[in-house]
């Protein structure tokens, strides 16, 4: 964060860019969903967008996140996230299919806990969602940096604790991926014996 006057003004322009960018996305969404392009319907759209923007900007805590450049700066990486997530989902589906359709369901559930340094709350939410959609893991609880995760098999748990997924998400949001998964352990009452 630079403290010179020009840095200050670029900060406002970033949040202004956010404002108009968000309004444009909302209006585009309205246009796609409505499919009617006369003055009346577009007018309704503008009113709806106005209400949504007002509701969002008066909600507490949104102002800081709006000023966070890192959110906007890494949007261009999302096209790489979707195919990666799709592959993970197909792998996950295949694994559950094998387990469910085999006569003796070969599963050995356990609960693991680990910590992950993610740049901001959006990254944390993305990581929790990705954990749920990647093979054999289901996020149970997210508390700051601490994640508690249910895993279908011991191997799924070990793969999660290696941290490839957490590193992927951290890099997606422009962090180095260091300390993406640390302090990993199986919870005491579920330890392998």
């Amino acid at each position: 964060m630079s403290n010179d006057p020009s840095g200050n003004s670029s900060k406002t322009s970033v949040s202004r860019g956010f404002f108009w960018g968000e309004a444009a996305i909302l209006l585009l969404f309205w246009l796609v969903m409505s499919g009617k392009y006369d003055a009346l319907h577009i007018g309704f759209g503008l009113i709806a967008v106005g209400i949504v923007m007002w509701l969002q900007y008066r909600s507490p805590g949104s102002a800081e996140e709006k000023k966070d450049k890192s959110l906007l700066a890494h949007f261009h990486r999302f096209p790489f996230y979707i195919p990666w997530l799709s592959v993970q989902m197909i792998k996950a589906t295949w694994q559950v299919t094998i387990i469910v359709l085999s006569p003796r369901m070969n599963l050995d559930p356990c609960v693991v806990e680990f910590k992950s340094a993610q740049p901001h709350s959006v990254a944390r939410v993305t990581l929790a969602n990705s954990i749920t959609l990647t093979p054999g893991t289901l996020s149970l609880k997210v508390d700051g940096d601490r994640y508690q995760v249910h895993a279908l098999t011991g191997r799924n748990a070990d793969e999660l604790l290696e941290g490839a997924i957490a590193r992927h998400i951290a890099r997606l949001f422009g962090a180095s991926g260091e300390r993406a998964a640390y302090d990993g352990k199986r919870l005491a009452e579920f330890e392998d014996d």
Partner: protein
Amino acid sequence: MSLLQIAVSVGLIVVGLLIMLVGSIGILRLPDFFSRTHAASKVDTTGIIFLLLGLVVIEGVSLAMAKLLIAIAFIMLANPVAVHALARAAWLRGDRPWRKEERAETNGK
């Protein structure tokens, strides 16, 4: 609508239905809430996405296709959130996952 288009979309929809079937069997067969949730989250999300992709191919480039793609994006975002809310509620309430050892014990009796 070309034959190839129909073939691809029917293929995608059939695959989607089979995946949904597996998800349903999983919900019935798996032993406890948490492992059933695995079947409900990953498998159903993938199944619905395959179904909607089949519809996208039928529809071709149109406004309806854009709506379907938005629906896919929404499902990818909302399904894991809903599943996390359920799993978190069960976990915090004190539900504990089924374990392999327990089954070994009851079978040994």
